[in-house]
């Protein structure tokens, strides 16, 4: 007869452990191929795809690749491919962020034939993409003035984790009562290291500087945090 008695077992294991292990594997493979990988995060409609197009077009000497994450549709991939950008679509059909196993599997379908920059456009969401590592060298946060200047205060983790921030749609500042001082005070409190670039995808304003900064990061000109 079995004696039933409860016994406490210490576990202390992070629920992210397996994700992080796979992310580290992906990072190693990409790093060895000299593929500098950018996890592109931002709310739906922030201007992630338009920003990527401008960044890539401002780096004509750099080979660029894109992994497009969307819940459904391949609208962004069609747009990218139409511009001659090597792009692969990931559809998550409901999942609100990309995780490391999804990215690792998807990358099997994207031949990264020569060194360059791989942009992984995460699902439009300002919450969980910041929580899951996917094998990136840096996180690029895309945030539009139309979302409001209170976003660093409401979604602090995304701003804290970003290595580079694009503030998009700056032509709309006057129309949406964007409080610049309040926004930058929040960004500064959360993240003293991230470079912030103000850009306008309608005119292309600001993307040249952002692209130069990114190319410099990718070539090792600016120190990038080592993989945790």
């Amino acid at each position: 007869m079995m004696k039933v008695s409860a016994e406490r077992i210490d576990v202390t294991q992070s629920i992210y452990d397996e994700n992080d292990r796979i992310a580290a594997e992906t990072w190693k493979v990409l790093d060895e191929k000299c593929i500098f990988t950018v996890n592109v995060m931002g709310a739906p409609g922030a201007g992630k795809t338009s920003s990527l197009i401008h960044l890539i077009q401002n780096m004509p000497q750099t080979r660029s690749y894109v992994l497009e994450g969307d819940i459904e549709s391949d609208i962004d991939t069609v747009k990218m491919k139409g511009l001659g950008i090597e792009t692969l679509q990931i559809n998550t059909y409901g999942a609100c962020h990309l995780d490391a196993p999804t990215v690792q599997k998807a990358l099997e379908g994207l031949p990264l034939s020569e060194p360059g920059i791989l942009f992984i456009e995460n699902i439009g969401n300002l919450v969980c993409p910041a929580e899951f590592m996917i094998g990136e060298h840096i996180k690029l946060l895309v945030c539009s003035v139309a979302e409001g200047s209170d976003k660093p205060y409401k979604y602090p983790l995304a701003f804290e984790k970003a290595d580079m921030i694009l503030l998009t749609k700056i032509d709309l500042k006057a129309y949406v009562d964007f409080d610049e001082a309040f926004f930058f005070k929040g960004v500064q409190a959360l993240n003293k290291d991230a470079a912030v670039f103000e850009v306008n995808a309608k005119t292309g304003e600001g993307f040249d500087g952002a692209a130069k900064y990114l190319e410099n990061l990718a070539s090792g000109g600016t120190e990038v945090k080592t993989y945790p």
Partner: protein, 122 residues
């Protein structure tokens, strides 16, 4: 959808720990959930009740220990919970820095039953 894959991980971690100890079942799983981890206890519970069926964790209770996000003041070195729309230290007014407190998301411990070496014939 957000909590679905993490609930699978919780069951996997707890089941592996239970197997390592030759347990017949897991009766309790204690989680530490930081406020900034972005995960909602009730939602984890909902997925858990479905996903645990047929595993060593079936019927286990989930206990969650929530941790508030805390900030560190560079002026007075204190930890504090911030007010909405502000990062200011309540003592000196300086903007604080994010800390790791409130980002936790891990399985702290489990309670197991029916360990094989507990078996005895009466």
């Amino acid at each position: 959808m957000h909590e679905y894959p993490v609930t699978e991980q919780i069951i996997k971690i707890a089941s592996e720990a239970a197997r390592e100890h030759d347990a017949a079942r897991v009766s309790l799983i204690r989680l530490v959930v930081g406020e900034q981890s972005g995960f909602v206890g009730d939602s984890i519970q909902m997925y858990f009740d479905i996903l645990a069926v047929g595993t060593l964790c079936q019927g286990a209770a989930l206990e969650m220990e929530y941790v508030k996000a805390q900030w560190i003041c560079p002026g007075c070195d204190c930890y504090y919970v911030r007010e909405p729309l502000s990062f200011a230290c309540p003592q000196c007014g300086q903007d604080g820095l994010p800390s790791e407190v409130g980002k936790e998301f891990y399985v702290k411990d489990i309670e197991i039953e029916g360990r094989k070496d507990d078996e005895s014939v009466c």
